[in-house]
Amino acid sequence: MKVAKRSYDAVIVGAGGAGLRAALQLSEAGLKTAVLTKVFPTRSHTVAAQGGVAASLGNSTEDNWHWHMYDTVKGSDWLGDQDAIEFMCKKANEVVVELEHYGMPFDRLDNGKIYQRPFGGHSQNYGKTPVSRSCAAADRTGHAMLHALYQRNVRANTQFFVEWMALDLIRDADGDVVGVTAMEMETGEVSIFHAKATIFATGGAGRIYYSSTNAFINTGDGVGMAARAGVPLEDMEFWQFHPTGVAGAGVLITEGVRGEGGILRNSSGDRFMERYAPNLKDLASRDVVSRAMTTEINEGRGCGTDKDHVLLDITHLSPDTIMKRLPGIREISIQFAGIDPIKAPIPVVPTCHYQMGGIPTNYKGQVVAPKDGNASSPVAGFYAAGECACASVHGANRLGTNSLLDLLVFGKSAGETVVEDIKSGNLSLKALPEDAADLALARMARLENQTNGTDVHEVRLAMQRTMQKHAGVFRFSDLLKEGVTKIMEVAEQAKHTQIKDKSKVWNTARMEALELDNLIEVAKATMTSAEARKESRGAHVRDDAPDTAEFPNGRRDDEWLKHTLWYSEGNRLDYKPVNLQPMSEDVDPIALATRTY
């Protein structure tokens, strides 16, 4: 089969916050840059972000990057790499101010400076008092960010390939990345994008879980493509569960509701958070609240006929407050729970929200993997940024508003590195291997010719249920073990998906089948990595690693202060050390301590 080829200096897969920020760096440096995206850029999932972007501007309260770095390391439960965290926190002000110059309509103080508001886990003076560090544009921060970056890219002549789906990474005999294969949805044709540099910015894979706050588009395509190409995935056992997704729908109810006085109650109407977090109660950190809710449900104190959720009660607030301060929430509750929160409490469950792990990178955005005794050797020609990447700044638990910051800092950094690598002659257009398109074409042909196969929707549902049951908020050693067997069975079914509609043009059934190939890689990585990590840390909490005097919170630094690396081939695990050393001498390493709030 003859496959069309296009050549670029750089090809970026993904046009969310991370992809657009990286593209800008390249196009403004005059490089010939192509951006591939499944949907129109401003319809990327970054649009959903409302809370804001973190930067220690100190406009509303005193602040500095040292405090931000401390909060991030502690939030990560010391699994984050301190060089990357230093880099991100130091760069935060620069990238946020840049965005302001690109026309981002941040909320402002009377003195004209960017307004900042508090957010969970962010503090002054190394954990002493809350700080206002989040910069927002009303409740449309992500949306405004994408628009500002998109306009700027149009000006810089970035070439967009909208409604193109990247299928697989192309590596040559040296293991270097020389581009991607992609399908144009309008024609169903596969093309090769041959490039000196390939940057993945494909977002997260929250749809591996049954209950997720993520839109359907978050299918982990970049992560799946990397895994199929032999690149390991880092720390995939760590997923953040947001305490309040609407039961049965997953739609996010912001922390702001509890900030306004919302109370979580079990089946007897008991305000159970008083027992789990006597001080902060309903406003304790995300992982603490999610685990408390799950304990209530597991111990039979859940609500509803299936006793499978708890209630978020705001009926004691005045209708005026609800209408004025929480209007969006009322609409979500009415639409998805059939309940007016002025009159009755909202059914909620902890819901999968954010992927902490991903494609391993360093702070320059280079993808790294073990090679010749070096645990973090750059894969030539390959870069990644955003939720699909693991720099690793979020470690075992991400702080709210640090993700949008991650997109900006590491999107830009990946772009800068590519510009340097190309200008210095480090990167050139390497020859395409003969079999460049084979992997993608084989997947397409398999789908085309499959008979007596499995149903995409059913396999996806089986995966989501398996993940939810076996690798949820709380993890149990026996369920995890069983989960590995089960997810491998589901993966086997995923190899035989069949589609009825074989048409070439705009075939959404084919797209969903191809997406499932990626989701299943992420699911296998998550389950296998979680089963193996025999400690509790951040978002990963196991029954057989409880809180003891010897090992507070069940964290085992003696054995598990290391990053997981999962390889798709052979479902194999490896590990690499956490970098506890900051990038510069401006700051001392943040010493290991017990994470308490």
Binding site: V47, R140, I217, L252, V505
Partner: protein
Amino acid sequence: MTMHRGRVRWHCRRALLELDIVLTRFLERDFDQLSDAQLVDLQDLLNLEDHDLWAMVNGSTECSEARWMPFLGMFRESGRESTIDNKG
């Protein structure tokens, strides 16, 4: 002007989960029944920004075009019926 059905269907993939959910049942049940003319109207509606479309669906802003009203009605109904066993 005729629209490719598959293309309009793909444009029902949104950036907000709220919209994905309200469109799920609509896609299963109502979408295939739409006439070509309706498809054009739907495509125009789908060209709205996600937050603006969601505000129209949930009624917090008024629908600016009469020809979109029937769709908004179908979306709302679809959202009410949808459970978590969605297509995502």
